[in-house]
Symmetry: C2
Subunit: 137 residues, 2 copies
DNA sequence: ACCCTCATGCAACTCAGTTGCAAAAGTGTT
DNA sequence: AACACTTTTGCAACTGAGTTGCATGAGGGT
């Protein structure tokens, strides 16, 4: 994905593409995996954490990213290419490496579906495998 | 599960069953679902949060509970009946209600397995469905 | 009763994340 | 270009969950 594409994506979601926002969105493209706020903070020293916090909230509100539970604690943010304005979906499984703490998208592996008991109404599904990633084995 | 069983379980895992610890373990039995630290704090006003924190760490260390990512943020602790001393497993799916914030065990639904790409080494799996629980629909 | 170890309760601390606010950067109008 | 207006930014202060330090207290063994 090019920088121009990111700007298009932002505009399309009603987000004004400021310099900081482009940096943050680029971080997702570059790493190609879900990032935590602190990971972004480390990667973009020049950007204040308050800006990161507010930007991620805005991105989320406008469905540019969605959140998923971190393998450890806290949450991670994932850029969604296929999210429409009112619906987040991009249902692949994730892998959390317990050594390096990174979360990877296994985009080729769709989440196997299950049938819920009567009364439960599904909104979204998260399938997370924890273990060692190729680099940490 | 009876209180005597809980005490047995603790002893079996090398945890001295003090009054506070029994209260905390009982909370899990009573609710029959994974609890967050703050949920326990609310339920057991008489027990200091430092005690809860240290107790949960101890329980975890001794494999009496294991953690799972909260549907929201943070983590929840789940009493494991079938965990041996060196291995936590109890692989059923969980349901997180986005309205009431509770997490439920769907014990009858095993987690469907997937084949990971070369190089990834699995340690544990978490399958979490988010949506509305029967009470909140 | 004594000693020793472990558990407890309170207060102080830590750290991630959020919020308040004034300065700065954009945007549009005349 | 100057103006008024809106949005974003950067800093500092705040917040709240969770943890840690430490003195007291309870339990267990001799």
């Amino acid at each position: 994905m090019q920088e121009t594409d990111i700007i298009d994506l932002m505009m399309h979601h009603g987000v004004k593409p400021t310099a900081n926002r482009i940096l943050i969105a680029n971080a997702f493209v570059k790493e190609h995996r879900p990032l935590s706020m602190s990971e972004i903070e480390v990667q973009l020293e020049s950007v204040d954490k308050s800006v990161i916090s507010r930007t991620l909230s805005l991105f989320r509100e406008r469905h540019l990213v969605h959140i998923l539970p971190d393998g450890g604690d806290g949450v991670r943010y994932e850029l969604c290419h296929r999210c429409s304005d009112d619906h987040d979906d991009d249902a692949h499984i994730h892998f959390y490496c317990s050594r390096c703490g990174k979360t990877f998208c296994l985009e080729d592996i769709p989440i196997p579906e299950v049938t819920l008991p009567q009364g439960y109404q599904e909104e979204s599904v998260n399938y997370m495998v924890t273990g060692l990633c190729p680099d940490c084995r």
